[in-house]
Amino acid sequence: MIKIDSVSKHFGGIRAIDNASFLIEKGSITGLIGPNGAGKTTMFNTIAGLFEPTIGKIFLQGENIVGLRPHQLFEKGVLRTFQIAHEFTTMSVLENLMMVPPNQIGERIYNTWLRRRQIKEQERGIRHKAEEVTEFLKISHLANELAGNLSGGQKKLLELGRTMMVDAKLVLLDEVGAGVNRTLLKEIGKAIVRLNKERGYTFCMIEHDMDFIGKLCDPVIVMAEGQVLAQGTAKEVTSNEEVIEAYLGRRSKHRDKIADRSVEGGV
């Protein structure tokens, strides 16, 4: 689906991504984990076209998509959700969903004066789809609620719902779990699996909650300090010493010595 080919992204001196390469298989739910500052979100933004990589190529089904603008990628079916939900607070859930489909007839202002009928028909279709989505996500009871009044978790569901309004190929989920209570997180998890099974979406998700990752993701890719550190099933990576060390933080020689001494001293 997506092939990351030795991509690097530098901000001034800092190497947010440092020659990382990996594959996201079609139809997979790939987990992307790693300690803070590992460059996960930067990787997402680079794939979604917010940044251009300093070096390296990104292939979407064999086509190099480096340099495409976000809305172009959007039309190619590459969607991303945000760590902090970006819903339209003053619009109802239904409207939030209905505004998603690109190039609606009614988005050209002169059509709103000249082609009322076509717009009506299209609107009917879009609304129907939106209602399907709300049912799929079990939030139909909120359809006419202002998105601003939703709970954190419901907003995340809405984010997910947006991706369902267009035939997404690849969906990048940035910490869907953040600030969501367990029960709702389960719902989100279910939704993701169903989308993956029933509609063949490919997912790539940044997540910190390991058992969530464990339940959903295969494979799991571990990034640390901008590089791909390990790759494999959730079990494999969690039992990988290197990964644990990376999570525990940077080692630095002389401090270790002190530590050893203190341990001998039996503090």
Partner: protein
């Protein structure tokens, strides 16, 4: 009261107030107010498109109004052939050079790419173009302004029916807005505000000083009218008959001579009112058209997209919407509507007087209308236009009357009292400010707030 009824009620109150003026002061005063209320309502609609729909803070309204105004004279006045002969050709040449020059500069800027001195070179090119254009423009304008300065001294217009100028005003304003938007719309909110403030001032000073085009502060009077002149009406028998039928009761039982005099009197005041009614009719039509178009656009996927952009640009962009494009579109549309209103205003006045445009009246007052009426809500801004204009006009006599009462204790000759009486009219500025502040504090949505959520 239920939000559904609210508009009806407030508009009913508004109508009642106008009627009261009609009975207490006079019908022609009431009609004058009504006509300006209608124009203000259209302006408010234009500003509402920009601020209410898309959150663009444009304080250059005055400029676009004035552009609408100049369109009237450019379209409807008869061309001044003498001026065209002496300066027309060269002026055209200047215009052409200007356009070509600008294009050339842009091409140069692009072609130069990332090489050194890009900005310097571009600036130099601009300066060069400026002098080139000036070499044609200078003599041409002098020649034109020399042609019978007392009467003309300008190129005149196209001599087309004045109604067309309303469309032209819209187009002119739209064109200007497009240019300005291209430059300034990427700026941060309050930078944008200040930029538009400046543009308005520049447009005004252009209109004041480019005499060859607008006669500047010498003003252009006697603009053609879309409605008959009072005098013609008083001559025309059908109108006299009309008046007669209207006042049969009053005229009955009068001797022939008195009857004729009375009839003349009646048809005189009748003609005034008739003319104002014609204007009111025309304005009403325009307002209805624009209002319908606005509501159609707002309650549609387009409106939804615009509200989404206003609500959260990043997300809208991530949903594949072209944010910059839409903002520009909105800016152009809003300005066009303001331009139309500006043209109507000038037509109503029958003269173009660039000296009289001032930002308090033509920019900030409109803002008060939108905020008080209810930004984001078309009906709201129309109401705002009516209400605020009404207050703006009526605050003056009321203020003077108030002062008169307050200072009645002093002896009428006293210098203090005299000053208080002339300055009373400025109380309305304070009233406006206070109204704005109070509304923003106690009903931030305005009188008719925007309906958010599902439609």
């Amino acid at each position: 009261m239920k939000p559904k009824q609210r508009p009806f009620i407030v508009f009913a109150i508004m109508a009642a107030m106008l009627l009261i003026v009609g009975f207490v002061q006079s019908w022609s005063v009431a009609l004058v107010i009504l006509n300006l209320c209608l124009v203000s309502a259209i302006m408010a609609l234009g500003v509402n498109i920009q601020w209410g729909y898309a959150g663009l803070f444009n304080v250059g309204i005055m400029g676009f109004t004035a552009l609408g105004g100049v369109a009237v004279l450019l379209v409807s006045m008869a061309p001044v052939s003498a001026a065209l002969e002496v300066g027309g050709g060269q002026m055209a040449l200047a215009a052409v050079t200007l356009i070509v020059g600008c294009i050339a500069v842009v091409i140069l800027y692009r072609a130069w790419g990332e090489r050194l001195f890009r900005k310097t070179v571009t600036c130099l090119a601009v300066i060069a173009v400026f002098f080139l254009v000036h070499s044609f423009y200078g003599p041409a304008s002098d020649a034109i302004e020399a042609v019978d300065p007392a009467k003309t001294g300008y190129l005149g217009g196209l001599g087309l029916p004045v109604i067309l100028s309303w469309v032209a005003g819209g187009l002119l304003a739209a064109g200007a807005a497009w240019l300005i938007g291209k430059i300034t719309l990427d700026l941060r909110t309050d930078y944008l505000a200040i930029a538009t403030l400046g543009i308005a001032e520049i447009i005004i000073s252009l209109l004041k000083n480019e005499d060859w085009l607008t006669r500047g502060v010498k003003n252009v009077t006697g603009l053609p009218r879309p409605v008959p002149f009072e005098l013609d009406l008083q001559e025309s028998p059908w109108f006299i008959d009309l008046v007669e039928t209207f006042n049969r009761g009053a005229l009955a039982g009068l001797g022939n001579t008195e009857r004729a005099d009375a009839l003349r009197m009646l048809s005189m005041e009748g003609s005034g009112i008739f003319v104002k009614l014609c204007y009111a009719g025309l304005f009403m039509i325009v307002l209805t058209i624009i209002f319908t178009l606005c509501s159609l656009a707002l309650h549609s996927p387009w409106g939804r997209m615009i509200r989404a952009i206003r609500d959260n640009e990043t997300a809208a962009a991530a949903m594949g919407k072209n944010v910059t494009g839409r903002r520009l579109q909105i800016f152009v549309l809003g300005s066009a509507v303001v331009g139309i209103a500006g043209a109507m205003l000038t037509t109503l006045d029958g003269q173009f007087t660039p000296g009289t445009y001032n930002p308090l009246r033509y920019t900030f007052l409109i803002w008060v209308m939108v905020v008080v009426g209810g930004s984001g809500n078309n009906l709201g801004s129309i109401l705002g236009g009516f209400l605020i204009w009404f207050v703006w006009i009526e605050a003056e006599p009321v203020g003077i009357w108030l002062m008169d009462v307050l200072t009645s204790g002093f002896d009428p000759a006293s210098e203090f009292r005299a000053r208080m009486l002339d300055n009373a009219q400025y109380m309305r500025l304070m009233v406006m400010g206070v109204v704005l502040l109070l509304v923003m504090r106690f009903s931030p949505g305005g009188i008719l707030p925007e309906k958010t959520g599902h439609r």
